[in-house]
Amino acid sequence: MQVKINGKAEEVQGATVLDLLKAKNIDPHMVAVELNNTMLEHDYLATTSVKEGDQVEFLFYMGGGQ
């Protein structure tokens, strides 16, 4: 199925949001996750499945400024 990850359409296997993160080698602690424009609590990453057409955002921390 196709989902949009950070604005780009991608073909993924039916899975949970946590599976998507694992497939991309992203430590869940390093991102805030948005599913269809709503923040997804970290507690629900493993139990929330991704559906065809979903929009997923993995927001990384961006810290510097000096």
Binding site: I5, K24, L59, M62, G63
Partner: protein
């Protein structure tokens, strides 16, 4: 308050704009903006806001100018090495525009002083380099109900995000807490392309002026991410999070506190698409 002939000439390109005019220029002249961090982001923001004729600019920073800063922190010049950044910054601002009243704080923003400081200003600009301070600024702005223009830069990436407390998403609506220690490297190790500070800091200044003028659409409920490698901007929609620990329905943060100090950058595994 009336402008002198000289001021009318100085600000003429603003006054010519129907959205600004003499009335808007007076709003700018009466405004008070606090810039937290006189570094990469704070430098361009301070210079453009000074040029714009902002009445009072507050500068808070506890550091002295270091040689490795000069690649991006354009408030500080080579002869300023070793001098407090707020002193160096104040000189540049006043040389550019003597109309501006510059208030300096050679200090760190901490839970103890943040609220009192922020309460004296209309808009706060986040130009700090570490997460504990970024979260503190967000919290203090929400408690004081002062608009905040958040900014961040790392390597080739930058982000701007405006928070109008209790009306739009705050930083904690998106990121509940600073990243866990151990996953982070310092910004000295990470590096940053110097011009990025100019791009992001200047957008922050634009947002601050718009807020004071009350024009256009603020960068609220959306994060603006910039990728300098591709020269591309992307907007990520956000909204107030009912589970936000600060401004949500059942807040767990009810007073200011300092997060454990840690370094400023997250080793990020890029999302490769």
């Amino acid at each position: 308050m009336e402008f002198t002939d000289e001021q009318i000439t100085r600000y003429s390109r603003h006054i010519l704009l129907p959205e600004v005019g003499g009335k808007g220029q007076k709003k700018i002249a009466k405004s008070r903006m606090l810039i937290v961090g006189a570094g990469g982001l704070g430098s361009p923001a301070a210079l453009y806001l000074a040029a714009a004729g902002v009445g009072t600019i507050g500068l808070i920073d506890s550091d002295v100018a270091d040689l490795s800063n000069l690649q991006r922190q354009i408030l500080h010049h080579t002869p300023d090495l070793g001098r407090p950044k707020v002193v160096s910054g104040k000189e540049k601002i006043q040389a550019l525009n003597p109309d501006v009243n510059v208030v300096t704080y050679e200090d760190r923003l901490i839970a103890k002083n943040a609220l009192e400081l922020i309460r004296g200003y209309d808009v706060v600009i986040d130009g700090v380099d570490n997460f504990p301070a970024k979260f503190l600024i967000n919290d203090a702005c929400v408690f004081a109900e002062k608009p905040l223009v958040h900014g961040g830069i790392l390597r080739f990436d930058g982000r701007v995000f405006t928070v109008i407390p209790k009306k739009s998403a705050c930083y904690r609506c998106v990121f509940k807490n600073p990243p866990p220690p151990g996953l982070v490297a310092s910004c000295q190790e990470a590096g940053v392309i110097g011009v990025l500070a100019g791009i992001i800091g200047t957008i922050q200044a634009t947002e601050a002026l718009k807020l004071v003028l009350g024009i256009g659409r603020p960068l609220t409920d959306r994060m603006l991410d910039f990728d300098a490698r591709r020269t591309s901007f992307r907007e990520i929609k956000t909204r107030r999070n009912p589970n936000c620990p600060l401004c949500g329905e059942h807040p767990t943060i009810t007073e200011l506190f300092d997060h454990e100090p840690e370094s400023c950058e997250l080793k990020q595994a890029k999302v490769e698409a």
